[in-house]
């Protein structure tokens, strides 16, 4: 069975265009949604493998939609497809649980490839995204010992990604398989997401929300 996809974007032309592109390449678009509320409502009914998520959803936020979807559908992966440059939003989306990011100027081939890799659980990292994640780890390093840090190898891998090397090229340089490279990249994401979750839990406890 083909990969099932839900497309969330507030622009009808774009939404329908992307849905058609994906359909023509053998992916099954099971739903589309124009805003965060609709996305969170519809997703549990169609249980897509991949949610293709724009971050700028009119008055609502794609980050909120990601939080809602990841909470109810742990098997569903979220790939952010957004305008380049919304740097802070992209980081928030990753912390909320997205496992990849692609700019809207990407070609149809790149998009289809990214959706397929996301469905397989492989993070979709552009060089720009690696730069953002590296910067974020450096920034939170100042917050104290409780924050996650990258291992030397993870830093090395992320830097290679940020400098435009492919997983295969990185594997050759480090004499490891590209799967190992991908798992390093995945770990850098997972730590950020765990940190985000632990912060949420701590916040909930402090606010007395987690008592019952």
């Amino acid at each position: 069975m083909g990969v099932t996809v839900m497309v969330v974007d507030d622009h009808p032309i774009w939404r329908e265009g992307v849905a058609r592109d994906l359909g023509e390449r053998g992916l099954e678009v099971v739903a589309t949604a124009p805003d965060a509320g609709a996305a969170v409502r519809i997703a549990p009914a169609v249980r897509p493998d991949v949610v293709l998520m724009d971050l700028n959803l009119g008055e609502t936020s794609g980050v909120d939609a990601i939080t809602g979807i990841v909470a109810t559908l742990p098997q569903t992966r979220v790939l952010v497809l957004s305008a380049s440059g919304e740097h802070a939003d992209v980081l928030e989306a990753l912390k909320a649980g997205a496992t990849g990011y692609l700019v809207k100027s990407a070609s149809v081939d790149e998009l289809v490839d990214a959706v397929q890799r996301t469905a397989e659980g492989v993070p979709v990292f552009t060089p720009g995204l690696a730069g953002l994640v590296l910067g974020e780890y450096r920034r939170i390093a100042g917050d104290g010992p409780a924050v996650p840090a990258l291992t030397d190898r993870e830093t090395e891998v992320l830097r290679f990604v940020a400098k435009g090397l492919t997983a295969k090229q990185i594997g050759e340089r480090l004499a490891v398989s590209h799967r190992t490279v991908e798992s390093h990249v995945q770990n850098t994401l997972r730590k950020l997401q765990l940190h985000n979750r632990s912060q949420l839990v701590r916040y909930a406890i402090e606010q007395g929300l987690a008592d019952d």
């Binding site: 305008a83 100027s105 060089p127 720009g128 920034r139």
Partner: protein, 378 residues
């Protein structure tokens, strides 16, 4: 998206930041007038000329009324100087009205503490220099009018100088704060306007450009060229709308935003989400070095060859990497260029980086592409 909350009301009225000080000056003037009249009434029987004393107090009362109106409207800077002159004149009537015996017994001269208000007014109007000069003038006149400089006069002079300095400084600080608030408000307005435009463009133009690009690519032929053009404009417009501020502020500039402006269809720029601020001169120079490296990629690898720029903050240093996937620079090629007297790109880049106190490393080889690493101590 979050809407920014409206700017909270500040304590500072941006257009008239000195208003509170001027109100204070007027209140001080009225209170000291009452005090001086009370003291003069107590001494009235012993004055050499009670009539003269009454006249001077009358002039002071009228002048206080003039000041109360004038200091709360415009043209008050000139009025402060007139105030200073009139105060000096009033003090100089002291020998005609107050007896020597009274002055020996520490009876105040004419005007007394009321005249210190002129020092405050000059300090508000002309800042620290105004306050200090006015304090010197009133002090000088005080000594001349009473023709003595005992501990009483010296302590008055001390207080006058202190008041002139302090209020002058307050005037400077208030003006500066108001200027900051004004700039911040202007920036806020500019940002809001840009966000509004960005939303409008995002909602229309960008969608259409993206769509044209995609469909044209499918149609092929002449349409493909149109698609490419639409794609380039789409990228340029997105970059314009979403990049941070690249201009100089307080001598600092954001390196990340500055280098992001170099992104194109072939150049990818990766940087932290937050601003990487360095001195503006350093950023300008780094921008130049990165441009030189990218131009070099075009020349040696080919026009449109992909290149990547990475900006990293390492705590004690900032690193900028420029990499391409080209054939690499053959060993000895750089040295050869230098020997032939051609200032190689490498040498000019190295010189510029060294001038910034940084270092430049080159990693190249067949199958590795070319990678320049610029490191600048933070």
């Amino acid at each position: 998206m979050f809407r920014r909350a409206p700017q909270p009301a500040t304590l500072i009225d941006v257009d008239r930041p000195l208003e509170p000080l001027w109100r204070g000056v007027v209140v001080y003037r009225v209170l000291t007038l009452v005090l001086v009249i009370a003291v003069a009434a107590f001494h009235m029987g012993s004055y050499a000329s009670p009539l003269g004393a009454g006249l001077v107090l009358g002039v002071m009362t009228i002048w206080t009324g003039v000041l109360a109106r004038g200091y709360l409207s415009s043209h008050r800077d000139a009025l402060a100087i007139a105030d200073l002159v009139l105060c000096a004149a009033i003090m100089l009537t002291t020998p005609l009205i107050v007896t020597d015996a009274q002055l020996d017994a520490s009876t105040p001269g004419m005007g007394s503490i009321w005249t210190s208000g002129a020092v405050l007014a000059c300090a508000v109007a002309y800042r620290i220099p105004g306050g200090v000069v006015a304090a010197a003038v009133i002090s000088g006149v005080l000594v001349v009018a009473k023709s003595r400089a005992t501990l009483v006069e010296l302590s008055d002079i001390q207080i006058l100088a202190l008041a002139g300095l302090t209020v002058g400084y307050a005037s400077v600080v208030l003006r500066r704060a108001a200027e900051r608030v004004r700039l911040a408000a202007a920036e806020e307005a500019a940002t809001a306007e840009r966000e509004r435009l960005a939303r409008a463009v995002h909602d229309g133009t960008l969608q259409v450009l993206s769509h044209v690009k995609r469909r044209a690519a499918e149609l092929g032929g002449g349409a493909a060229e149109l698609g490419t053009l639409a794609g380039e404009q789409e990228l340029a417009l997105r970059t314009l709308l979403t990049r941070g501020r690249t201009d100089e502020r307080d001598g600092r500039r954001d390196l990340a935003a500055t280098l992001r402006a170099l992104a194109s269809a072939s150049v990818t720029v990766s940087a932290p989400a937050h601003p990487v601020e360095l001195s503006a001169a350093v950023v300008t120079e780094l921008d130049g070095v990165v441009r030189a490296a990218l131009a070099n990629v075009e020349r040696h690898v080919g026009a449109g060859a992909p290149a990547w720029v990475l900006v990293e903050e390492l705590g004690d240093a900032v690193e900028v990497c420029v990499r391409d996937d080209g054939p690499g620079i053959p060993a000895g090629r750089l040295a050869e260029a230098a020997e032939q007297g051609r200032i190689g790109v490498a040498r000019s880049m190295r010189g510029r980086v060294a001038d910034l106190g940084g270092s430049l490393e080159l990693d190249t080889g067949p199958g590795r592409g070319t990678e320049w690493t610029i490191r600048i101590p933070a």
